[in-house]
């Protein structure tokens, strides 16, 4: 349906009174539009992701770049093919497929065989997005869901982290034994011992991990950038980090260290920060209201800890976000903000009129006081 047919439906009734010719310029108010479109939002996310990738490629070499390239290209390709097959426009120029591809790649270690990003892109674009009707109708974040499915299918390879700076073959799926890292900071932190890497290394991201998700510093910078550009509101990441820290103290951790220090290690060493900044804030699958967003973020923090403590899963944050994704619609339902003038169900009108101090009266107008019309 083209804009013109839509307009003709809207303004069909104008035909009889107007000049007889349909005027496509008669759209309803408002007549100006913010320059920020979907593509701009996606572009902001791409810009925010770029430093993470540059750093990831610096750490893990050209293979990281190849994985990213394959992932993005496949996401765009599969999305276009599926859209054509489903009778939609071939490729909506909203850059969402590029973002999906980038997030998918960022959540993988550089050591994965190159058919992983292809499979992941297929899951993301078709199984978790296309069949639901495209952007805006997917119930879960496609890139994250695809990544978690890959983790279920190939757990060994998805957690095969390599040391920063290790030489990796460009295309071969065989990774030399020497490159494989045996000290993963998150695994150490979760098991209750202080990671062998220093806190500074972990903070700037000089650790084994996924392509995009190692550097807490760059992720916090990206979050600040996106919040400043108003691409998303920082409610979700802030609520998630706060609840993670709070419940981290409540749950406690293994022997030796105080639980506050260990919670900080857990917070910055795994994929938690990346996931809450780039996956949990996905507008499509998060609640719209501010209260809903805060509950959603807090739920992610809590569920991540529960999964880390009570299951074998190391990260937990992926499943936590997927679970909260599915709940986001319900969260919106239960947390509708009060609208202007709505009466509180119990307290009546929440606001009482403030009477001006000198109460206006209806006394007759005083004589003598005059206003001088000129």
């Amino acid at each position: 349906m083209t804009p013109h047919t839509i307009l003709s439906k809207i303004f069909g009734s104008r035909k009889k009174s107007g000049g007889g010719k349909l005027d496509p310029l008669m759209s309803p108010a408002p007549h100006i539009h913010s320059p920020e479109k979907t593509a701009h939002m996606m572009l902001d996310v791409i810009i925010a992701l770029t430093p993470c990738f540059i750093y990831g490629i610096y750490l893990f070499g050209a293979r990281a770049f190849v994985v990213t390239l394959v992932s993005v290209a496949c996401c765009v390709l599969f999305e276009s093919v599926f859209a054509v097959a489903a009778g939609r426009k071939p490729y909506p120029p909203d850059l969402s497929a590029v973002v999906s591809g980038l997030i998918l790649a960022a959540l993988m270690p550089a050591s994965v065989p190159l058919y992983f990003p292809v499979l992941g892109a297929l899951f993301a674009s078709v199984a978790f997005k296309g069949v639901f009707g495209g952007l805006g109708k997917n119930p879960v974040n496609p890139a994250l869901a695809a990544r978690m499915l890959l983790e279920l299918l190939f757990p060994a390879r998805m957690f095969l982290y390599t040391d920063p700076g290790a030489k990796l073959p460009l295309f071969s799926s065989h990774i030399p034994e020497s490159a494989i890292s045996c000290s993963i900071p998150l695994a150490e932190a979760v098991s209750g011992s202080v990671p062998t890497r220093s806190l500074f290394d972990i903070f700037i991201g000089n650790i084994p991990g996924t392509i995009g998700g190692t550097s807490a510093l760059l992720i916090i910078a990206a979050c600040a950038f996106l919040a400043a550009k108003k691409t998303f509101s920082a409610n979700i990441p802030i609520a998630a980090v706060t609840s993670f820290m709070l419940f981290g103290l409540v749950f406690g951790s293994g022997a030796g260290q105080s639980s506050s220090v260990m919670t900080v290690y857990e917070l910055i060493s795994g994929g938690f920060l990346f996931c809450i900044v780039f996956c949990a804030t996905d507008p499509v699958t998060s609640p719209q209201g501010v209260y809903g967003k805060i509950i959603y973020g807090a739920g992610i923090g809590l569920l991540t800890l529960v999964i880390r403590r009570y299951s074998e899963n190391l990260e937990g944050v992926g499943y936590a976000i997927l679970i909260m994704n599915l709940l986001s619609y319900s969260l919106d339902s239960i947390s509708r903000p009060r609208y202007f003038g709505e009466k509180h169900p119990r307290k009546g009108n929440m606001l009482r009129a403030r009477r001006p101090s000198s109460s206006p009266t209806s006394e007759p107008i005083e004589q003598g006081k005059e206003i001088e019309p000129k």
């Binding site: 108010a29 009060r338 202007f340 006394e363 206003i371």
Partner: protein, 444 residues
Amino acid sequence: MAYIFGGGIPNDAMGSSVSDDIIGVAAGRSVFFRIPRDSYRILVSEDDRVDLGTRIAKSSKFELSGVYSSVSGRVEQIVDEGENVLIKIENDGFDRVSPLVRPFEGSPANAPREELLSAIRRAAIACRDGVMLHARLAAAMSPDAHLIINAAENEPGLRVRRSLLFRNLGGIVRGAEIIMRTLGVERADMAVSFCRGPLSKKLSDGEHIRDSIKVHFIPTEYPFDHPRLVAARILGVEIGPREEPEQRGIAVVGAEDCAAVYDAFCTGLPALNRTVSLVGDCIKRPCTVTVPIGTSFRDIADSCGGFFKKPHRIIDGSPMTGVATDSLDSFVSPSCVAMTVLSQKYDFAPSSENADGCLNCGKCADVCPVGIVPSLSVKFSGVTLSDEPAPVPERKLSGRGKGYFMSSLACIECGCCSYVCPAEIPLTPLMKKAKSKAKGECPT
């Protein structure tokens, strides 16, 4: 204190490099009046001679008033348009004042309130929303009435009130005093968009504004100049969707209406001129002009330097709330605020006729000044822009969905949600439909 809702959009979306001068523009060769047939009786016929201030139509309803000729000349044509009658008056350029026009006798300070109200009714001043000023004041008359002078104006492009504050503050204050006497109140509040520099100094130095008027500065985001939001900010009263400010005894009167009241009391002429802003990227010299009511947009544009781009869309009113019109032959109505002429750059077609392309991003909820989540309200109400039934069969709404649907009643139709929507969904027209549907379902 009232809970202040956030939201709003910056008021500089149309640029802000406009001067604060008001340029007087004379009427063109003819002026036009469109008069609803069922509420007015036409008093002139073709070829009649009319003067400045001659009544050409009158209404027996109290909430309406007369229609007065804003030029002197000859009734050239009376066109039957079905519901409306279009009267075209040829301007002879002499501006003869009708002999029936008399200035207000005596001082407004001594006159009884009923007399002041009927004088305001004779002045036929239309507020921005189309309600006549005297009807608004009469509805707000109560023992605890309160007057708010709304001199705040945050809509992108509009400079009417700011220019009036600069050029005619005395008129606004004296008009406000007449209105205060009419309402029987001793104090009034004045809302002004936050400003710096000479205007702020002028408003706070105590020389120009009497003690009876208290100036409040409100944020400059659009649409915090909306009467309901201004009342909430100044008086701490939230006026719900089912009532009007007047029912609570609150009269929110625009600054331009105050100035018009003062003019009418001084000259005895009804409101024949209107101060309108010229907005848009096509207009060579965006400015604020005072024109006789009924002047065509073409005449205004010609006297203000014309266009430097090909006009693509002509809007009667402001860019955010105006009504698109066919051509430059539209004319200044008694409640007109602006003439907006936009180029091809602003061509905007709705992406869909319902909220199908919604990304759930919540930007509409972020900017909504009355706390609605427009995308969910539209989805739950199941409205589309076309008259066809919604593609999804309607479900009976229960509890929560109904809450979202009913919240559309509070919509003030400011246009912010459509403005920010990254998926370009026509949310404001959809909200209007949802609102009327909700009103139909729950007519209280």
